[in-house]
């Protein structure tokens, strides 16, 4: 994968990491993360995975609709915008978003639900996304 100046700047803090580097970041860019986004932790995991440079997000559940009370994509208080795909595009236009196929296994997030307090959803979604990214960046090529 060729590295534009923008790409170098965007992922500068990842490339510094032991276990990631430029090769690991390229692996993330070539990978697909499958995320169940019916719950809040899943929505946040998807957003953090997109920011971190996963190549494709395959979403299962109510991704098309705007998640209620989801502040990450609100332009102003009370304005819940756009839905997850647009929230991803606004953050990282390099990420492709598609619907997950029924056979694809989603990354595991314990006890995720739509009414999870945002603090708990962040902790669970962030941890699940971080574990997935590290495993993906360090996996042996098949």
């Amino acid at each position: 994968m060729s590295w534009s100046r923008d790409r170098q700047v965007r992922y500068a803090h990842h490339v510094l990491l032991p276990d990631i580097g430029g090769r690991g970041q390229d692996r993330l860019g070539a990978a697909t993360a499958v995320v169940d986004v019916d719950g809040r932790a899943g929505q946040l995991a998807a957003l953090y995975l997109a920011a971190a440079g996963v190549g494709t997000l395959a979403l299962r559940g109510g991704a098309a609709a705007a998640p209620p009370g989801f502040p990450f994509d609100a332009a102003a208080p009370g304005v819940v915008a756009v839905g997850l795909a647009a929230a991803v595009a606004a953050r990282n236009p390099e990420v492709a978003v598609r619907a997950a196929a029924p056979t694809e296994a989603a990354l595991a997030i314990a006890d995720d639900r739509p009414d999870l307090p945002l603090a708990d959803a962040l902790a669970r979604g962030g941890e699940a996304a971080a574990r997935w990214l590290h495993a993906c960046a360090t996996a042996e090529a098949p």
């Binding site: 510094l16 606004a90 962040l122 902790a123």
Partner: protein, 211 residues
């Protein structure tokens, strides 16, 4: 309702401010930086359209109608700050963390101090009279790598920030926890276990002399 002051509007301050505001608390976001492209791998509260804008203003607008932005560097706070319920540090700067702890002690409010680096982090939480951050860490390290120098895996800040937000909301709840605590979120590469440790006051700490 008294506000929660969030120092730093970046990787940790973002999720902390949004989660505290979502729980119905007014927040005051303090940060003098602007959004840069190198922030976006972890600061999921910002979009490409926010590049170049003051982080505190963007984050406060996204958090809630009652949120306030202070575009300044802690402890440079406005005179009309109003009542404060607690302060949370999400900065990337050890001296600021100690300054936030001292400010909380002087004001008699709970402090939550969060740090994330590479694949893990920690979150200190203590109320007035509890052991303080300096009881635990004594003084800022002579050399501490920042996220900019050592890197951080993007979603780790969501994980640590979520734990920090839950910690400050618990301190402000009906039954606040007794005593100071630190959550140690181990490096994910070594399992990433979350451990909670109780912190006892340290004899000779500045907070004990004042008491």
């Amino acid at each position: 309702m008294a506000a929660v002051v969030v120092v730093g509007a970046g990787g940790l301050g973002g999720p902390i401010a949004l989660a505290v505001a979502a729980a119905g608390r007014p927040v005051v976001v303090v940060d003098d930086d602007v959004v840069e492209l190198s922030n976006l791998h972890r600061q999921a509260q910002f979009t490409m359209a926010d590049l170049g804008r003051p982080k505190a203003e963007v984050l406060a607008r996204r958090a809630s109608a009652g949120a306030r932005a202070v575009v300044a560097r802690f402890p440079d706070l406005p005179a009309d700050l109003g009542p404060v319920a607690a302060i949370v540090d999400g900065s990337d700067d050890p001296p600021t963390k100690f300054a936030v702890a001292a400010w909380a002690r002087a004001r008699g409010v709970p402090a939550v101090i969060a740090a994330a680096l590479r694949y893990g982090g920690n979150v200190f939480a203590g109320g007035p009279g509890d052991a303080c951050y300096a009881c635990l860490f004594e003084e800022p390290p002579a050399e501490a790598p920042s996220c900019g120098e050592a890197g951080v895996l993007g979603p780790v800040v969501g994980w640590v920030g979520g734990v920090a937000a839950a910690a400050v909301l618990a301190r402000l709840g009906d039954r606040p926890p007794a005593g100071a605590t630190i959550w140690v979120l181990d490096d994910l590469r070594r399992g990433g276990a979350a451990r909670t440790l109780a912190i006892a006051p340290r004899a000779g700490c500045g907070c004990r002399e004042a008491a």
